[in-house]
């Protein structure tokens, strides 16, 4: 689902943001920084999850003598009802959230892109049929559809991933199709066709590379949203099963101990907010960066469609 898809105005640039600084570095280096950052994050949280990180106890290690302990030097974020260190669990939970979210977004975007491109490219009945199917899936509010799917399949992470992907792909299909439709009339396409380029070639060489940027931007903007949705599903009891340290299910468990153990719900929620915020910023920055190339090739937001 799209959080925001409208591209900002062309000539009016009023953003003053850190992302602009980032935009000053060359593309190659930016990518390198991003990959390096992600790798560090992954290694760190993996170590925490496995209990190999120094100073931090394993997120699964129970300590029945220190249950529901408030934040202190030994437990900066306090402990949960089993005496497990919440800081470790919050850090380890990053792994789960980011992993699942990325899988869902990548799967959903890819699936949606394929369907959308095919629909836009071939037009006619194919287009009609595929778009109707897309609209049908778009008609369900995500949480309820995801919950229905997860209940039908089973309560575990795999079911959540499937459920969220099913909810996500229609947006990308719409987006991709809109892109393809406007691209189709573009000169370079017409020129290529008159030169006898095969349809397949056209699709892969011409259209896809122009569709990708929009989708990537959208996907990055979506990460925050999908992460929150996933946490929402865990909060409803669907998704990561105990003793997995997933942020949403931690907040659910914390509910029983409110308001006395206020730290229990506070920190996982904070982690969620900060992470989602970070990805949203990233997405905004990407969208601004892609801006010049996108002027005039806006993605579709209206329900009427182009």
């Amino acid at each position: 689902m799209a959080a925001v898809t409208v591209a900002p105005g062309g000539s009016v640039r009023r953003r003053v943001s850190v992302v602009r600084e980032f935009a000053g570095i060359s593309v190659r280096n930016r990518l390198a920084v991003l990959i390096a950052g992600l790798s560090v994050l992954v290694t760190l949280t993996d170590a925490v999850a496995g209990g190999r990180f120094p100073f931090l106890p394993s997120p699964l290690a129970q300590n029945l003598v220190a249950t529901l302990a408030p934040p202190s030097l030994s437990h900066p974020m306090g402990t949960d009802e089993y005496g497990r260190d919440i800081l470790s669990r919050v850090l380890a939970g990053t792994m789960i959230s980011v992993e699942v979210t990325l899988v869902v977004v990548i799967l959903g975007a890819t699936l949606g892109m394929l369907i959308g491109v095919v629909a836009g490219f071939f037009g006619g009945t194919t287009d009609e049929v595929l778009m109707r199917v897309t609209d049908m899936f778009l008609a369900f509010p995500f949480l309820i559809l995801a919950a229905a799917i997860a209940t039908a399949i089973g309560r575990n992470l795999t079911a959540t991933i499937i459920a969220l992907t099913v909810v996500e792909w229609p947006w990308y299909a719409r987006l991709a199709r809109g892109q393809v439709l406007s691209l189709r009339e573009h000169e370079f396409v017409l020129a290529a066709r008159s030169l006898g380029a095969s349809r397949r070639r056209l699709m892969f060489r011409g259209i896809l590379p122009n569709v990708m940027p929009v989708l990537i931007t959208q996907a990055t903007l979506d990460i925050g949203y999908v992460m929150l949705s996933m946490a929402g599903l865990s909060f409803l009891g669907i998704g990561a099963q105990p003793p997995a340290p997933e942020w949403g299910s931690m907040i659910l468990d914390a509910l029983t101990y409110q308001p006395q153990a206020w730290w229990y719900a506070l920190f996982p929620g904070l982690a969620l907010t900060i992470t989602a915020f970070g990805f949203n910023l990233l997405g905004d920055g990407l969208r601004d960066w892609f801006d010049p190339t996108l002027a005039g090739l806006r993605g579709d937001t209206g329900p009427a469609g182009p």
Partner: protein, 334 residues
């Protein structure tokens, strides 16, 4: 216009048909044991067998689908395992509470969102940064966490607002006219009751509307920026119109159009939000009904809510389309 409406209607009907197909697949085809899921986790094996027979699970899929559609046509959405009432009865009972919440959340969400978006776009500079940060933060906060935080802050610590429910315990609700306590209390002229109901709706409505504020703010800001850069605005400015007039007469109206299209999205966000927020506040609406249904695997209830909400969603979106078409004549040409 008529042709447009007819086309939209045909499209909507098709989508509705598709919805029933999807829900049918989810109800009968996907689950490992659809009879068990429908009979509920509390049912004995006898009951499960009965359900299995009535669903015709051993008969061809087409026949099953026919049975399913005929049930829907008769308004039979099954029986809830938790409340033991027909699901349609439950939906009607719990709907007004959620509607009240959504109306408050939507209204204030739009107002505040538009405000932030307009101010952000027109002022620019630091104000814009602040505005955008607020919008992004709104979109990053999980509603269920916010609900818990607000409850903790305003109830446990500050004792300013009540913790849960629609009214103080023991207080009788107003006579049912709309089913929405604040409105009904006002209609009755009962001010203390109105204030009580209002006090109870504040926290849940605020929790719900936060992501919406962000969404609206961003959309409005973006389209405002675009519109402000357009020629006709410059023309208006050149004509010597005051800034105020420029903004609100020309820019805003056009900028708000995309905000209208986003309303359908908002509705979806709000519906999903109610499932997460209502339980925390013991708000007896569709949201907590759905949450309870999910927790007890009350499948009839879950599917009932899914279908009804999907249909409502489609209808709302169609109305939004019509509104959009009315406001923007260019759309009708497609």
């Amino acid at each position: 216009m008529l042709r447009f409406l007819l086309r939209r209607l045909a499209f909507v009907l098709l989508v509705l048909f598709g919805i029933t197909l999807i829900t049918f697949v989810l109800e009968r085809v996907v689950p490992g044991d659809p009879a068990r899921l429908l009979a509920g986790t509390r049912a004995s094996q006898q009951v499960v067998n009965q359900v299995s027979k009535s669903l015709g699970l051993n008969r061809p899929l087409l026949v099953q689908y026919g049975l399913y559609m005929s049930d829907l046509a008769h308004g039979n959405l099954g029986i809830s395992i938790v409340t033991r009432n027909p699901v349609t009865h439950d939906l009607v009972q719990y709907f007004p509470a959620t509607l009240e919440l959504i109306i408050y959340a939507m209204f204030f969400g739009i107002v505040i969102g538009v405000l932030i978006g307009v101010v952000s776009a027109s002022r620019g500079g630091k104000t814009d940064v602040v505005g955008e940060t607020i919008a992004t933060t709104s979109l990053s906060i999980p509603v269920f966490w916010l609900a818990i935080l607000l409850q903790f802050l305003f109830y446990s610590r500050l004792h300013l607002l009540p913790v849960s429910g629609r009214l103080n315990p023991g207080v009788s609700p107003p006579h049912t006219i709309t089913g929405m306590y604040t409105i009904d209390a006002l209609l009755e002229g009962n001010i203390p009751l109105f204030l009580d109901a209002l006090a109870h709706i504040v926290l849940p409505a605020v929790s719900l509307m936060v992501p919406e504020v962000g969404l609206v703010a961003k959309t409005v800001r973006a389209s405002m920026l675009e519109v402000l850069g357009r020629d006709y605005v410059r023309a208006a400015q050149a004509k010597g119109l005051t800034r105020w007039r420029v903004y609100f007469r020309h820019a805003l109206r056009n900028a708000l159009l995309p905000a209208v299209t986003v309303m359908g999205l908002e509705f979806g966000l709000l519906i999903s939000g109610t499932v997460l927020v209502e339980t925390i506040y013991s708000w007896p609406g569709l949201g907590s009904y759905t949450d309870q249904a999910i927790a007890s695997s009350d499948y009839d209830a879950i599917m009932g809510v899914t279908i009804v909400v999907a249909v409502a969603y489609v209808v709302v979106n169609m109305l939004v389309d019509v509104l959009y078409a009315y406001l923007d004549p260019r759309v009708r040409l497609t």
